[in-house]
Symmetry: C2
Subunit: 137 residues, 2 copies
DNA sequence: CCCCTCGTGAAACTCTCCGTAAAAGTTGAT
DNA sequence: ATCAACTTTTACGGAGAGTTTCACGAGGGG
């Protein structure tokens, strides 16, 4: 159960966009790719999904680029994961067998706890943290 | 981010073994496969992993079969996921980019919350619940 | 010895993830 | 109007993981 590189990329880029939030010019793909170490051609797809999901806006043309579409404190980890990976911790197969229901219910409880935790963490918090010392828990 | 069919199968079978815990005879693969709707040939592999991980024990020969190796209240969802899927919510790629550390730290917090929740739910609880009415939260 | 059961490895299949590339569309500047 | 820069769209393909099935080997009991 590992979280995909894609959602990690998406989070990093969104944090970067948060840091650029007050800026006059829009952010370019090449710029974002360099700052966050994401393959530019892959980033194209991710930005497209983020745009369709309403998290960012884009402008075409010579002075085009990307910017956040919402306030940083209104975008949580949950929004990002839900958009990129779909439902969180969804059950793969069908609910079958004598213990299927019982196990499914347990996972639903875990999923709820996970979602609540993800909703607590917003882009605003992540951007502020950047550059701080890292202490391992 | 969906949890694999394999870990679902493992949980169901372990709950079933919990229900058989006091029994005289050991549980057969065919029996478990039928009761929990798991492909028998696939179940062999899963049981093998559970055995190597110390959660169950097995005996070959005419009166062979499987049984729990621990007390049901000492086996949690966390133990099962950790054994079958490896680390929970581990980060796929490397920690890179300006925001890499910040995002990684956020995910570590989420992972901790998830692990704590998984540790709370034991096989004993899951076996008791079976057959109860299901209420959606 | 023979049957019954688990044990192990590998092949095949599907599917998603990750990354690349080329073509098409849009905007602003000259 | 035309060109150049930039984004968007679309398609493709390798790599790897998850799921399933099969075949054969190993061990224990009657």
């Amino acid at each position: 159960m590992k979280l995909s590189v894609k959602v990690d990329y998406a989070c990093r880029v969104l944090v970067q966009l948060t840091r650029m939030h007050g800026r006059a010019e829009l952010a370019h793909i090449e710029e974002l790719a360099r700052l966050e170490a994401v393959p530019a051609n892959y980033l194209v797809q991710i930005l497209s999904e983020l745009r369709n999901g309403g998290l960012i806006m884009s402008r075409r043309g010579k002075q085009g680029g990307y910017a956040l579409a919402k306030r940083p404190e209104d975008v949580s980890l949950y929004d990002i994961v839900k958009l990129i990976e779909g439902d969180v911790l969804e059950l793969g197969g069908a609910i079958e067998g004598q213990s299927g229901k019982s196990v499914a219910r347990a996972w639903r409880e875990v999923r709820t706890a996970l979602e609540e935790k993800c909703r607590e963490i917003t882009l605003a918090q992540l951007a502020v943290r950047t550059g701080e010392e890292m202490y391992y828990i």
